[in-house]
């Protein structure tokens, strides 16, 4: 059995310990804000925070996070007003929106560690997250807008 928390809520999972956190969240808990994109940590759509670090939930087995705290997009802020979320809305960043929860989780992690990132630091931190619609210029601008506020 694996015991951990998701957005502060205790989880006791007794199923296949190899189950990736991604599918645990989506299929078993029913929290669909974390997205499936590639299953191989190549696109970042499934990004969540585990003990404060941005990780690809498709690569985290539920059996390996005993005692750890998972934060998903649903738990990033109580009211959806994390500075990154606000900046995303102010600049109408999203097109289809599918990758954006992963982008936001990655950006929030970046700004937590580096409150005022340079352009190069933004590119480095965000280059693991693919957006097929091509919202990258607005993602960069939204991160700059949120910088110093997160």
């Amino acid at each position: 059995m694996s015991k951990f928390t998701v957005n502060g809520k205790a989880q006791n999972f007794t199923g296949d310990p190899e189950t990736p956190l991604l599918w645990y969240l989506r299929d078993i808990v029913g929290m669909t804000g974390t997205k499936f994109g590639c299953g191989r940590a190549l696109c970042g759509a499934c990004t969540v925070h585990v003990d404060g670090t941005a990780v690809r939930s498709c690569q985290i087995q539920v059996g390996d996070i005993d005692g750890q705290a998972v934060i998903t997009i649903e738990g990033l802020s109580a009211d959806g007003n994390h500075p990154v979320q606000k900046a995303w809305r102010e600049l109408n960043v999203a097109q289809c929106g599918y990758c954006q929860t992963g982008q936001i989780m990655q950006a929030a992690s970046l700004l937590k560690d580096t409150p005022k990132p340079t352009d190069q630091q933004i590119l480095d931190a965000m280059s693991g997250n693919i957006c097929r619609c091509g919202t990258y210029p607005r993602i960069r601008d939204a991160i700059k807008r949120a910088s110093g506020k997160a």
Binding site: W23, R40, I73, Q85, Q95, C133, G134, P137
Partner: protein
């Protein structure tokens, strides 16, 4: 798991809400009284046509909330927001009180819902205004009747009706029920706002209606559907198109915890259309168990007739075909004579490989199939294609196939072909009616797409002693999408040829377009902007090559080729398609093409002095009846490192409803165009797709994107003219503008996509 997804009750809720309340029979009118035998264009020419009865689409609740049923798929183009803007404006509603719900699939009731071809706003701007104007006038009539004043003395304002003389005001909510019982005004009695009165249409930076849901993870995409009691499935499909299962052993798969059932899916019977490819489905208690179960299947495949499909060999086949004359698609003047007498002849050959649309949300659908009918939750561009397939497949009347339209996590053409919804339904049927969610893994998506065609384009021109082009011969060779629908035609269809090949506006008296044969060995399907990609890449790379060969500036030479401003009839270019539009309404306006070239060049500072290793490239293309010009600036480093400091895009789609979303589409088009030009390639070996995931099929990431994308919208208030498309026309000129910039920067001519490492060591 108790939360049935929100959208499950869309149809019922919309009827409960308001204008559509009551028991009156819904009237159905065509938007124009065209005779049956008359050729129809635009939205009227689409299957199901256009509907503009407000009672089908609008409801107003007692609290004044206006609900619009959106009949186009939302896939990132922002159509839910833009449709809301149009309706709120013409209705005089408060956009903040407008809710947009996705209509379920029902072409008979709602008219055409196929979200494809950059048609949504182009076809629906006018019907939406008719819908909203009719509703506004019904509300005005109701208010006037209540107050016993002439209707001319009342007007709609800020979600209510006011009577200026007495200062009285009633909110839409208070009037909705009475207004709904009034007759819908005839089309010729509708009064529309003038552009100067618009409050939302044409205004910039309107917030996206789905912003909050998207940024908090609440937005429901097709893959997010959750239906009580559902199981989860993945399918092992034949690795070669046209192959089938010889035999399989499911014993090991069935031992995986959570696996419920293993089911064989029949191969498609020709024509394949959008049918599933066949194979073996594994149905389980969750997606991971299904994937794990699938890895334990033992399957012997019969690879079928395409087992030797090999992209390296096939390219040689296409090149050999391009070396010889082919079926003539357009023939002006005497190209052979003009080439023979030309002072100089220049030719070049270009290659664009297969591509996969690869939307970030892989294909996924949830279905429940019972004796009573089918219900599907999915993100598809064409709900009616799902209904048609399932109705036939399970022999149920089409009105018993309910398709709930969820948000698309990208479409790009892939989700026009709903094979995944059929697979979900097959699985549910096999489970005795238990709902099943079917998901493509990324590997499934890249290996079993409907791939963008692969093409060789050969262009030859003759110039006179002054460097002026006098002859143009374009041979385009590519397998056709229509191999999906009929025995392989081996020639591009009129629709494909009319995406940039025959509808070439150049003022060259001798111009011929030929289309030699090419056979399809995989599923070829449409990808954002379709055949315009290879056609524009060849034509506009060649324009710059030709300019260089006669020592001219590429922008000036492009303008000379386009020639003076004039209107060209589609028929005069042997364009039998014109994106389904009326040739009289949509002549090729070379003045507009010139204008975007000049705008992009001016904004980009064409001709400015650049550092060593930098260059500017230009290309301009009309597609989806809109005009786009791109100027790209590149920097090529000493080891061939390519960076893109800036892209300027000038765009004329006619009047612009939602400038922010037009800009975002152009920004996205620039990046998708750069992605396909620099990295995109799907290749085949032994009939199988070589690439498996985003490591092999690379997409442009934030560090490969242009530092700056500047969009320049022109002609944005031409509300007296028909609208052009937006979603696709940004893409075609991007690749040639990039290739031309690279040539300008370092002298290396890119004729084969993707660019990848072609610049390494060549500089």
């Amino acid at each position: 798991m108790t939360n049935i997804i929100k959208v499950a009750n869309v149809a019922r809720r919309s009827v409960l809400l308001g204008l559509a309340a009551g028991s009156f029979v819904l009237s159905v009118r065509l938007s124009s009284p065209a005779l049956a035998q008359e050729k129809k264009f635009g939205g009227d020419g689409m299957p199901g046509g256009l509907k503009d009865d407000p009672r089908l689409f609008l409801s107003i609740a007692e609290d004044g909330t206006v609900t619009l049923l959106c009949i186009r798929a939302e896939m990132g183009q922002g159509i839910r927001t833009s449709f809301g803007m149009v309706v709120a404006d013409e209705l005089e509603a408060d956009l903040g009180r407008v809710k947009v719900l996705q209509a379920p699939g029902d072409q008979t009731r709602f008219g055409n819902q196929d979200t494809d071809g950059s048609r949504s706003m182009r076809h629906h701007f006018e019907p939406l205004r008719r819908i909203a104007a009719a509703a506004r006038q019904m509300l005005e009539q109701e208010a006037a009747a209540r107050w016993s004043v002439p209707v001319t003395e009342v007007k709609a304002e800020n979600n209510g009706i006011v009577h200026a003389g007495s200062g009285r005001r009633l909110d839409f909510g208070a009037l909705a029920k009475g207004a709904a019982a009034r007759p819908v005004p005839a089309q010729d009695k509708l009064v529309f706002k003038g552009p100067s009165q618009f409050r939302y249409i044409g205004k910039d930076n309107v917030p996206l209606i789905d912003n909050m849901d998207i940024t908090t993870g609440k937005a429901m995409f097709g893959i997010d559907a959750r239906v009580e009691g559902m199981a989860y499935a993945v399918v092992a499909r034949p690795p070669v198109f046209g192959g089938k299962v010889k035999s399989f052993d499911a014993a090991k798969a069935m031992k995986v915890p959570g696996v419920l059932k293993v089911v064989a899916i029949d191969p498609p019977t020709p024509p394949v259309v959008f049918q599933p490819l066949g194979g073996v489905a594994v149905i389980a208690e969750n997606t991971f168990a299904a994937i794990k179960g699938r890895s334990q299947l033992e399957i012997q495949w019969d690879d079928g007739p395409n087992a030797s499909y090999d992209s390296v060999e096939y390219r040689k086949t296409l090149e050999a075909a391009a070396a010889k004359p082919g079926k003539v698609a357009r023939n002006d003047g005497d190209v052979d004579a003009a080439l023979a007498s030309a002072a100089k002849r220049v030719s070049a050959e270009y290659y664009v490989p297969h591509l996969a649309q690869a939307p970030m949300e892989p294909p996924s659908a949830t279905a429940r199939v019972t004796a009573q009918g089918c219900e599907v939750w999915c993100s598809v561009q064409n709900t009616e294609a799902v209904r048609t397939d399932l109705s036939k497949r399970f022999n149920v009347p089409i009105d018993k196939v309910i398709v709930h339209a969820l948000l698309l996590g990208g479409g790009f053409g892939r989700k026009s072909k709903p094979d995944f919804a059929s697979e979900a339904a097959i699985c549910s049927h096999a489970m005795g009616g238990r709902p099943v969610k079917l998901t493509f893994t990324r590997e499934d998506d890249l290996q079993h797409s409907f791939f963008h065609t692969v093409s060789v384009e050969r262009v030859e021109a003759g110039v006179d002693a002054n460097g002026k082009a006098v002859a143009w011969l374009h041979r385009t060779v590519a397998p056709s999408i229509f191999a999906l629908f009929m025995p392989d035609p081996k020639h591009e269809a009129p629709l494909e040829l009319a995406m940039g090949a025959v509808d070439n506006p150049f003022a060259i008296p001798n111009l011929r377009v030929e289309n030699p044969e090419a056979a399809a060995h995989t599923r070829v399907g449409w990808f954002r902007s379709v055949s315009n990609i290879p056609h524009a890449f060849a034509i506009h790379s060649f324009v710059a090559e030709l300019a260089a060969s006669v020592g001219r500036d590429p922008k000036d030479y492009l303008l000379e080729l386009i020639g003076p401003p004039r209107l060209i009839d589609a028929g005069a270019m042997s364009d039998a398609w014109l994106y389904g539009e009326d040739p009289k309404r949509y002549p090729f306006d070379t003045g507009r093409l010139r204008a975007v070239v000049e705008k992009a060049a001016a904004e980009a500072g064409w001709g400015r002095k650049l550092e060593q290793g930098r260059g500017l490239g230009i290309a301009a293309h009309r597609s989806f009846v809109s005009y786009t010009a791109v100027v790209t600036e590149v920097a090529v480093g000493p080891r061939g490192e390519l960076t893109i400091p800036r892209v300027d895009i000038a765009f004329d789609c006619g009047a612009v409803v939602n400038p922010d979303r037009v800009r975002s589409q152009l920004e996205g088009a620039a990046i998708q165009g750069i992605s396909l030009a620099t990295l995109g390639e799907i290749s085949f070996k032994n009939g199988r797709v070589v690439q498996t995931n985003f490591d092999g099929y690379e997409l442009t990431r934030i560090d490969g994107a242009p530092t700056e994308i500047r969009t320049h919208l022109v002609n944005t208030t031409a509300f007296d003219k028909p609208l052009g498309g937006v979603g696709e026309p940004g893409v075609p000129p991007v690749a040639p503008a990039l290739a031309n910039a690279i040539f300008a920067a370092c002298g290396k001519r890119i004729r084969s996509l993707p660019i990848r490492d072609q610049l390494a060591g060549k500089v």
